[in-house]
Symmetry: C2
Subunit: 268 residues, 2 copies
């Protein structure tokens, strides 16, 4: 029998009726309808975000900002800048965004609450401005350095939304060249998403690990982090072996099957 | 030749290869991929909204609210409640949401700015609370009455996001029974979306118009609004005639084709 050919209604390409995956109009329309609905929802959500954003009183933003800033009732100071520079803010915003600011500013026995001044060490003025601006707008333009600075502040003040945002950015920038440094940074600041992603990159490149200067330094400075790398690698090898041979137990104490995983960058 | 039947991969229904609309896998997957992307984006936008929402200091919301309220620096008073009741707020939030509050609170010559008190007449306390809460959260649970009250406040304080939200709700509740009342209300408060939708309902039911008590009252109280109804109806009829006969000019001064539109609820 002659093979019947059909033309796709959407892209007008020919498709083989027997072999090619064809979808009926109803299913296609359903996927398309949901897509259109979601696009509409998306626009509504974006409008809501625009409505909910507040002008940060930081002087770097628009001209309307300084006016909103006139109602500011708290100042954050980057102690490390010379001279120490203030970033204006509103207590109501800070306590809504951060449980740490809440505990600090709602407790009248705290110095910060009484003075309306929060002194912050070990932070660049630019990063502090970007941090406060994020609390008002949920927006910032990241680069590698700023993402690290903001992640530290987000961790310190428990601003989970910002921490997640910085982690996502830093994971997207991971490569072999920065994996060990990023891993060390992530471990110091309790950034589990980055930690996991960095361990993935490192354990995929174990043949190059010990030649890295960062590795030699890490062995010296924080051997626990090095042990974690080897443990993760071992666990991956055991799982690889178990995937290849389901009869092998999936835990590292079994002592079998690891040899079968072979090589330095085996994937399951 | 025998007609070939195919089974849709998604729903497993049979579909006729000749007549039924079939879509190739690539097109279906594309629609589906965009759908999945949009769902992910939507989740991110919803997280952002959760982050950006502020606790309103109104006592009706959660227990954390009263704490945030301790930093309140302005009070809105519903003058019509007995006794007049205050709703706590923050100037920084009000000026960010409403150009009217901005003009009022940033100008030190205004009584409201000096006293930190904004007195509002002709509003129920509940509605004022819901209004302030919306400014903090972009959320409210509407019913017909509340939607009208909030639309009036949104119009007065130029809170476009809330006005749009109320209009959408009231349009969704339109029917013949409430069309004339809703139309009158919309005209009084410059709510164009509702006005257009109500005129659509009214001009689709012209045979019943003059029997309505609201109509008789409106002729008496605001004849301009009645004229607007007839003008809209006339324009619809001209357009209907033009659709049926493209040679008829699409403006009501042509004086031709209207008779062809015939009947009371003709659609184009």
């Amino acid at each position: 029998m002659r093979r019947q050919r059909f033309i796709c209604k959407s892209c007008e390409s020919n498709s083989d009726g027997y072999g090619g995956g064809m979808y009926c109009e109803r299913c296609y329309m359903e996927a398309d309808k949901i897509k259109v609905q979601l696009m509409g929802e998306n626009e509504e959500l974006k409008d809501k975000i625009e409505f909910l954003k507040l002008c940060s009183p930081s002087p770097t933003t628009s001209s309307t900002t300084s006016l909103a800033g006139s109602f500011s009732d708290v100042v954050l100071i980057a102690l490390d800048s010379e001279p120490p520079l203030p970033v204006q803010a509103h207590k109501a915003v800070l306590v809504n965004r951060s449980p740490v600011f809440r505990a600090m500013l709602e407790n009248e026995e705290m110095e910060e609450s009484r003075s309306g001044t929060v002194k912050i060490a070990d932070v660049r003025y630019d990063a502090l401005q970007a941090f406060v601006n994020y609390l008002y707008t949920a927006e910032t333009c990241l680069n590698q350095n700023l993402a690290c600075d903001l992640l530290i502040l987000a961790e310190k003040y428990q601003v989970q939304h910002l921490k997640h945002y910085c982690q996502k950015f830093l994971v997207s920038k991971l490569n072999w060249d920065n994996a060990l440094t990023t891993y060390t940074f992530a471990c110091c600041h309790n950034a589990e998403d980055i930690m996991d992603a960095a361990l993935e990159v490192i354990t995929d490149n174990m043949d190059k690990l010990t030649t890295q200067l960062e590795y030699v330094n890490l062995v010296e400075k924080d051997p626990q982090l090095v042990i974690k790398i080897y443990e993760t690698y071992l666990s991956k090898q055991v799982n690889t072996a178990a995937c290849r041979n389901p009869s092998v137990r999936r835990d590292s104490s079994s002592g079998s099957g690891i040899g079968d995983g072979g090589g330095w960058s085996d994937g399951c």
